[in-house]
């Protein structure tokens, strides 16, 4: 339920289902798909070029008899070894010259396309079908079926592809299109089998498979109706990507005289002939090779592009801070608050639109204060935290406002200076402690590394400080933990190590992004204790981001309720928790007060779904779900109103009241 990258987890508002993309590649409906494909190809010129080229070559192959100027097998020794027309001594009806037996090279190359493409396609079809079937039953039925198939696959894999094909073909009495394709295709079954098996295994683990069994479906039904439809997609993608390679293999085999029996004009065979005469006629080996190169290049470009289209992987790039947008020139003298966030807006410019994840948020944070930011998915709370420490995933950026930390505007200082701030003055802990620690470095190493980054310390002193940091979070078994790798520790321990890491240099501000969400309730209590102790000892301010308002009830000093990237309400406990003014705050508190609602009453629920940050309607973002919505709410976004000491709300109901 993270909202740091809004493009993937879009959910619809108002209970209306919309086309949205989830963590899996969205299954695209076929209607309207061609349009999407067209647009995609226009963006990816390489793929377009490849597709056009492949189609052309395929057409050449299909219409070879019509296009080729000569019969490729026609001999005329008197016309042997003629050079191509751009050389002297050529003949006008043999554009690319002739080979030693007087056969027209151009025609042979044209015909060669036929054989190469046919064999490649056949091989891929055979290999992928066989592999798909075996992978499916291997993954689904498991046990001895799986064991046998996988062991056979091990043996298959022990033979390098080319070697296997060569070995079998060398002893084959006859070599025609069918048995060539059979051999080549067969050699690849295990590639597909493994991929499909892997997918089947992971689909088997998913709840929907268990649900199907729970519904009473027989194993075959589960396999065919539930698992198969979700496991085959990888096959055509890989098959496409393999076609090009097969063309190369086929031509290699014909080059070695292990392909189609001569005088069939396969490219490899032409090249092999050409090699004998290459001193005299260098174009003879060059031209067929170029044919292969161009064909394979086009096929590869096309299939890479199509593969990306059908199975898009987000191209998450390296970390880059973008140049800043328009910033108001505000020079505020250094004040008391440790952190002053003013009008911060964070956006993610995506291909189709710009998603605003944080919309003009402002707040102050004093030293030693705990600010609790509460919100559901899509509220922008995590993005806000990442914006402060300037670690947004590309392409996110802060486009407006200021983040004044100890007087410095973090949105304007350079990378280098920001790195000095991080760790030493501002620390951050994340939701999933297991994946936030480098899995191949020991805990002690990571602690020492951070300490030595910000202070000049010898190894011994650093180790000692590392131990102290671990002690401070209540870890008793110091030596074991220092030497341990993260995966050896429990979730609670990992989170404590995370805190120790973040606090090791005693930063003034700690941002905690859903740190307890992955922990058990009883471990959660310990976590809050730790943080509270830290705060008391070192005076660290904490920004605690969570979806659970009850968790913060007596932990935070200030509460900030966020919805769709905006602040709904902010204030102290007495104000926000005990006397909430914003309808969303009220509704949130009501729907959480479960332990106090008797079982025979209905829970106060908010209809509809949390907003999709890419589809926020005009006006107040909560309007679609608000029980007290007014016409103005759908038109204008309410401004922030100050109700009392430190208590602010953004709601038309209050502006109406005061009017």
């Amino acid at each position: 339920m993270t909202d740091s990258i809004p493009n993937q987890s879009t959910k619809s508002a108002r209970g209306t289902p919309r086309g949205s993309v989830t963590e899996e590649a969205a299954p695209r409906a076929t209607t309207g798909n061609f349009r999407a494909l067209g647009l995609f190809l226009l963006r990816r010129k390489g793929a377009l070029f490849g597709l056009v080229g492949t189609v052309l070559i395929a057409l050449i192959a299909v219409f070879a008899p019509t296009i080729a100027p000569h019969n490729p097998l026609e001999l005329d020794i008197t016309q042997g070894l003629l050079p191509p027309i751009w050389n002297e001594g050529s003949a006008p009806d043999h554009l690319l010259g002739t080979d030693a037996l007087g056969r027209d090279i151009l025609s042979r190359i044209i015909w060669g396309a036929r054989y190469s493409l046919t064999i490649s396609l056949l091989s891929v079809a055979i290999g992928s079908s066989l592999g798909f079937f075996l992978g499916l039953i291997s993954g689904f039925f498991g046990k001895w079926v799986d064991a046998i198939i996988m062991r056979l696959g091990d043996i298959q894999l022990a033979f390098p592809f080319l070697l296997f094909a060569i070995a079998v073909l060398a002893v084959s009495p006859e070599r025609n299109i069918w048995n060539l394709s059979l051999v080549m295709g067969f050699a690849q079954w295990i590639v597909y089998a493994r991929l499909v098996r892997s997918k089947v295994l992971s689909e088997k683990e998913k709840d929907y498979t268990r649900a199907a069994r729970a519904l009473g479906a027989s194993p075959i039904r589960v396999l065919v109706r539930y698992v198969l439809p979700n496991s085959w997609q990888i096959v055509p993608v890989v098959a496409m990507l393999q076609i090009g390679g097969f063309v190369v293999v086929e031509s290699t085999l014909s080059f070695l005289n292990l392909g189609l029996t001569p005088p069939i004009p396969s490219w490899g065979a032409i090249l092999s002939d050409g090699r004998q005469y290459m001193v005299v006629s260098p174009y003879m080996p060059l031209l067929p090779g170029l044919a292969i190169l161009i064909t394979v290049l086009c096929i590869n470009l096309a299939s890479d592009g199509l593969a990306d289209f059908f199975d898009p992987k987000l191209a998450k790039g390296g970390f880059r801070r973008y140049p800043l947008g328009l910033l108001p020139e505000l020079h505020e003298p250094q004040r008391e608050p440790l952190l002053r966030v003013r009008d911060v807006t964070t956006v993610f410019p995506m291909e189709e639109q710009v998603v605003t994840a944080v919309n003009r948020v402002s707040f102050d944070l004093e030293r030693g204060q705990i600010l609790g930011i509460v919100g559901e998915s899509g509220s922008g709370k995590s993005t806000l935290g990442l914006s402060i420490i300037q670690l947004l995933d590309a392409p996110g950026r802060v486009v407006n406002g200021q983040i004044l930390f100890q007087g410095k505007d973090l949105t304007r200082i350079g990378d280098h200076e920001m790195r000095q701030v991080r760790g030493k003055h501002v620390g951050m802990i994340f939701q999933n402690p297991g994946s936030s620690l480098n899995p191949v470095l020991s805990v002690g190493y990571q602690l020492r590394e951070t300490l030595q980054r910000h202070h000049t310390l010898s190894d011994e002193v650093a180790t000692r400080r590392a131990q102290e940091a671990l002690e401070a979070v209540g870890i008793a078994d110091l030596q074991r933990v220092l030497r341990a790798f993260p995966f050896e520790l429990s979730g609670g321990m990992q989170q404590r190590v995370m805190i120790a890491l973040a606090m090791s240099c005693e930063p003034e501000l700690l941002i905690a992004d859903e740190p307890s969400t992955a922990l058990d309730v009883t471990t959660q209590v310990q976590l809050l204790d730790r943080l509270d102790e830290m705060r008391k000892k070192t005076g660290t301010s904490i920004i605690f981001i969570t979806h659970d308002i009850a968790l913060l009830a007596d932990f935070a000093d200030v509460f900030m309720i966020m919805y769709a990237g905006q602040v709904c309400e902010m204030g102290q406990r007495k104000q926000v928790i005990e006397a909430p003014q914003h309808p969303y705050t009220k509704a949130l508190l009501d729907s959480v007060a479960r332990t106090d609602v008797p079982g025979n009453q209905r829970l106060a629920a908010i209809p509809g779904d949390p907003p999709d940050p890419s589809e926020v309607p005009p006006g107040c973002p909560f309007a679609p779900r608000c029980p007290r919505v007014m016409p103005i709410c759908r038109e204008a976004n309410p401004g922030i109103m100050t109700l009392g000491a430190g208590h602010t709300v953004a709601c038309h109901l209050l502006t109406a009241k005061s009017a």
Partner: protein
């Protein structure tokens, strides 16, 4: 009240294999001698933290995993796992993760209709009608039947999952953390839906969750599990007000509440132990704040200390005394 489901000394162990030949060196005792009964029409809550075995228990009752030992009786008849078809018609389950509990490439109509087809309940026309009715009942538009799961939000997907579970009119529905993956504001919607459906269809629920608040709201009685065993079983309000087991007390006090101060919370020491090597005697004793010597030697039975209230603690009544002040 008729007894719908009875579980007797149920055990589910998972072998841990190691070594060259895959010898079994230990067992994960996910469910270790659990007994309870469920009356028709009631909601029994099952609560515990991660690794306590609650999900395994639900799935074993359904024979999604065959039990290692013990008996499961449905309406008085012992289930053998062989008459699965009949079993599946009577007991159904709603899963936790809305994003993986629906087959991603199947239309919603087919998802809900498949159980009807599997059990051959009705022809095409009546199946279609039933699907539309179900969609409406769970709060979705019948027109959406031809859409695919990815077009729906988390809460909506759970509704589809519920519709699917109800399609063949089961008597018992198990909700395995059915609201845990949803946003808070949506959880309330789904919980209300569960309650409405229970009334309309006279359903019996086994409601599994790690969230005590949810469980208390939904259930008439609550079972608390720790490391494969039931440590307490009592009516909801009484469990909440006067727990008879130290773990329950700790759990209750750890639940974030808008009204209870954190200072008053009970702190458990140490880490949750590994399920392959449960402690000797009472499984909770290493972390227990009331532990006495006997606790590490003798495992306490789940006894009925007060009418309708069971606890597996040697000092159950002391808990009562401690919390009576509240």
């Amino acid at each position: 009240m008729t007894t719908l489901l009875e579980v007797r000394h149920l055990k589910k162990y998972f072998p841990v294999r190691q070594g060259l030949l895959g010898r079994t060196v230990a067992h994960v005792r996910a469910v270790d001698d659990v007994s309870f009964s469920l009356d028709e029409g009631e909601t029994l809550g099952l609560v515990g933290e991660s690794g306590c075995g609650k999900s395994t228990l639900a799935q074993t009752i359904l024979f999604l995993e065959p039990p290692t030992a013990g008996e499961i009786l449905f309406r008085g008849k012992v289930l053998t796992g062989r008459e699965t078809r009949e079993l599946r018609r009577n007991i159904q389950i709603v899963f936790q993760d809305p994003y993986t509990s629906l087959p991603p490439r199947m239309q919603v109509a087919d998802i809900i209709a498949d159980p009807l087809r599997i059990h051959k309940l009705g022809d095409q026309v009546s199946v279609d009608r039933k699907v539309r009715d179900l969609l409406q009942e769970v709060g979705l538009k019948p027109d959406w039947a031809s859409r695919l799961p990815y077009e729906f939000s988390g809460g909506q997907r759970q509704r589809i999952g519920i519709a699917r579970a109800l399609s063949i009119d089961p008597s018992l529905v198990m909700a395995d953390e059915a609201v845990s993956a949803l946003d808070v504001s949506v959880q309330a919607q789904i919980l209300n839906l569960f309650k409405d459906l229970q009334e309309q269809h006279n359903l019996t629920y086994l409601f599994v969750s790690h969230d005590l608040g949810v469980v208390k709201y939904m259930s008439r009685r609550i079972m608390v599990m720790y490391l494969g065993k039931i440590v307490e079983l009592a009516p909801s309000q009484e469990l909440y007000d006067h727990p008879l087991h130290p773990y329950t007390r700790a759990l209750l006090s750890a639940v974030p509440s808008l009204h209870r101060k954190r200072k008053e919370r009970i702190r458990l020491t140490g880490e949750p132990p590994k399920p392959t090597a449960p402690p000797a005697g009472c499984r909770f004793h290493p972390r227990c704040f009331m532990a006495q010597p006997i606790c590490s030697e003798q495992e306490p039975e789940l006894k009925e200390w007060v009418s309708g209230r069971f606890s597996a603690c040697h000092f159950a009544m002391d808990n009562l005394a401690a919390t009576a002040k509240m």
